[in-house]
């Protein structure tokens, strides 16, 4: 569809939020007691932050929850029955105020979940999701969206993208049908653009991702991996805060006769991730696991899923207990 651009005044924005949150689930960022930025369902508008650089966790759980039931089962003496999850019950959710990197991540996730066989759990959640993104007027040393083909105001993945204007109002880019339908339902709140400048942060480009991708071909055996992963302690923090990491585990949990099969987030950084029952482990050292993480995002995914597996949000690096800085490593990688 043809995209369009409107203006929404600060007061109207509040009205829009309130009206949306009165009728549906709105997932918006707030600053929690412990100063961490987290997304919450339907917080009051006053609570919603427009001043955050990044939330601690990404918003991927809206489409790929950390735990998701795949089906329920019941075991009788010999008979077993399976009950499907009613995906139609998945509610419509408005994701509010998420930044362009996080919104672009939905495309990366889609490239995995809808590649080859379509994962209905993901697709259904995406179908019910409307993203009202917010361009970034703040950034920090961990941000590197510009290195992965994005920008503080990338519209990728957003249905509507709000960008702050100097006077405190917002420019609204209406990017999809879903976005348009929201704007249409609240058309009284939107005005024509005024020509006011948007306030955007600048994020310095640290590396050229295409160059990285091409370097990674044939870099499998490079000593780089061992040298640069010595510090890595093998936790799953980077994968769990990452907006595009999609690895998961499938488990059963039974109580009495009944139980559920669910999937939950997993991380390729864990030492047991690829362990065979025999005791053999194809990725038996941390360097192999670190390599997998970078390779997957910058080589395998572009190759197979036609999507980069990174949106430059910087969470993995800011959240890493030992400062495994991915941008730094990618910068180094493009020059090996």
């Amino acid at each position: 569809m043809e995209t369009s651009r409107k203006l929404i005044r600060k007061q109207s924005l509040e009205k829009l939020y309130n009206q949306l949150s009165a009728t549906r689930k709105v997932y918006a960022p707030v600053i929690a007691d412990d100063k961490q930025v987290e997304f919450k369902y339907n917080p009051g508008f006053a609570e919603v932050t427009f001043e955050h650089i990044r939330s601690t966790l990404s918003v991927k759980n809206i489409a790929f929850p950390k735990v998701e039931n795949l089906f329920l089962y019941s075991n009788g003496k010999t008979e077993s029955t399976i009950t499907d999850i009613d995906l139609n019950k998945i509610p419509e959710v408005v994701l509010w105020g998420s930044h362009p990197c996080d919104n672009a991540a939905f495309d990366a996730l889609r490239s995995i979940f809808e590649w080859d066989i379509k994962d209905e759990f993901f697709s259904k959640r995406m179908e019910k999701l409307v993203v009202i993104g917010l361009s970034c007027h703040l950034s920090d040393a961990y941000c590197f969206c510009t290195s992965v083909g994005l920008a503080p105001n990338s519209s990728k993945g957003s249905d509507i993208l709000l960008s702050p204007l100097h006077n405190g109002d917002y420019q609204a880019d209406i990017l999809t049908e879903k976005g348009a339908s929201i704007v249409n339902s609240f058309s009284e709140l939107f005005e024509s653009t005024s020509g006011e400048e948007v306030v955007l942060t600048t994020v310095k480009q640290k590396f050229d991702h295409e160059k990285v991708t091409s370097k990674l071909n044939g870099a499998f055996e490079h000593p780089f991996w061992v040298e640069n992963s010595l510090r890595c302690i093998g936790c799953g923090a980077c994968a769990y805060v990452c907006p595009t990491c999609a690895c998961f585990d499938i488990q059963d949990e039974t109580r009495g006769k009944n139980g559920k099969r669910y999937r939950s987030w997993d991380s390729c950084g864990f030492s047991m991730f690829t362990l065979h029952t025999s005791g053999h482990n194809p990725r038996n050292v941390q360097s192999a696991r670190w390599r997998q993480r970078i390779m997957h995002k910058f080589s395998y995914m572009p190759d197979r899923n036609q999507s980069l597996g990174c949106v430059g949000c910087g969470r993995c690096s800011s959240g890493c207990p030992v400062d495994m800085n991915i941008a730094e490593q990618l910068e180094a990688l493009q020059n090996i």
């Binding site: 795949l70 089906f71 089962y73 075991n75 010999t78 008979e79 077993s80 029955t81 399976i82 499907d84 999850i85 995906l87 995995i112 979940f113 590649w115 080859d116 066989i117 379509k118 994962d119 209905e120 759990f121 259904k124 499998f220 055996e221 999609a246 690895c247 998961f248 585990d249 499938i250 488990q251 059963d252 039974t254 139980g259 099969r261 999937r263 997993d266 390729c268 991730f273 690829t274 362990l275 065979h276 029952t277 025999s278 053999h280 194809p282 990725r283 192999a288 997998q292 390779m295 997957h296 080589s299 395998y300 190759d303 197979r304």
Partner: protein, 278 residues
């Protein structure tokens, strides 16, 4: 309602064969006949077998697509799921998702000699293709099967080995490791590579299919090369750990290659191109 790709077919255990003290073969029948009719698979493909409450485990379909109405799987009691499977009885329910993965290119092999080499519990993933080609016997020339196990009691499919041995159109060589033989053992005694070298099947117009523990593969490959087999004419299967079976969960890849999608069947030529991550 759209398709839930994680939902298994419910299968009923129709028959159980105790192959060895800890290896069993299940014959599974679809509970839902509509599902049975829709279902088809090819030699080499695998599936996710589940015990509801214990989880899923990945094995190849061990029966050939030429036998309709059921699938078979053979597993060794090792982890939580296989222990759960081992607790089941005829009539109990097993979940099955699949088929997944690629297949043995048996159409390409038509008109060729086939040499199957398997060790221990690696015969099951090969049994499907063996039977498949035997069932289409006239399309292939000589079929030779070399199968070794640690001891006589570790040999699986004992009754089928007997059938194969009796068939004039199949050459079967069975062997057990030194010390693993029983007094009435009539097969060879020795490790698979040595037995293979002794038998020295011709590589002329031949395909070799090789499955077994890493140490067996390691010592059998040079023998095959010596016999003149080309890398592209040797096939094997990889069995990396996987959860989903269709390229999403992120476990099974060897470099760029997804074992669940691009495998499990690989030619040795392909294997050589892979990074060492299997």
């Amino acid at each position: 309602m759209s398709e839930n790709i994680y939902k298994p077919y419910l299968m009923e255990i129709e028959q159980i064969v105790e192959e060895t003290p800890d290896v069993r073969t299940f014959r599974l029948k679809f509970k839902n006949t509509a599902e049975a009719e829709k279902f088809s698979f090819k030699a080499g493909q695998f599936g996710e077998y589940s015990v509801l409450g214990e989880g899923e485990s990945t094995f190849c379909v061990a029966s050939p697509p030429t036998r309709n109405g059921y699938i078979e799987c053979t597993f060794r009691k090792a982890g939580r799921v296989t222990k759960g499977l081992a607790n089941l009885e005829v009539g109990d329910t097993v979940g099955f998702r699949g088929p997944y993965g690629n297949t043995f290119p048996i159409e390409e092999w038509e008109g060729k000699n086939l040499l199957y080499i398997a060790g221990g519990i690696a015969l099951p993933p090969m049994r499907c293709v063996i039977w498949n080609t035997i069932d289409l016997r006239e399309k292939y020339k000589d079929i030779t099967i070399v199968y070794g196990a640690r001891s006589v009691s570790d040999l699986v499919y004992k009754h089928e080995l007997k059938d194969w041995a009796e068939r004039p159109d199949i050459k079967l060589i069975t062997t057990v490791d030194p010390g693993g033989q029983t007094p009435d053992w009539k097969g060879e005694v020795g490790f698979v590579p040595m037995v293979l070298e002794k038998a020295a099947p011709s590589s002329e117009n031949a395909i070799a299919i090789l499955c077994g523990p890493p140490v067996m593969i390691k010592f059998t490959m040079p023998v095959l090369k010596k016999l003149g087999f080309l890398d592209k004419d040797i096939y094997t299967t990889l069995e990396n750990r996987m959860k989903c079976g269709f390229g999403k969960c992120g476990r099974c890849n060897v470099g760029k290659v997804f074992v669940c999608k691009d495998g499990p069947v690989f030619s040795y030529e392909q294997i050589l191109a892979l990074p060492e991550e299997y």
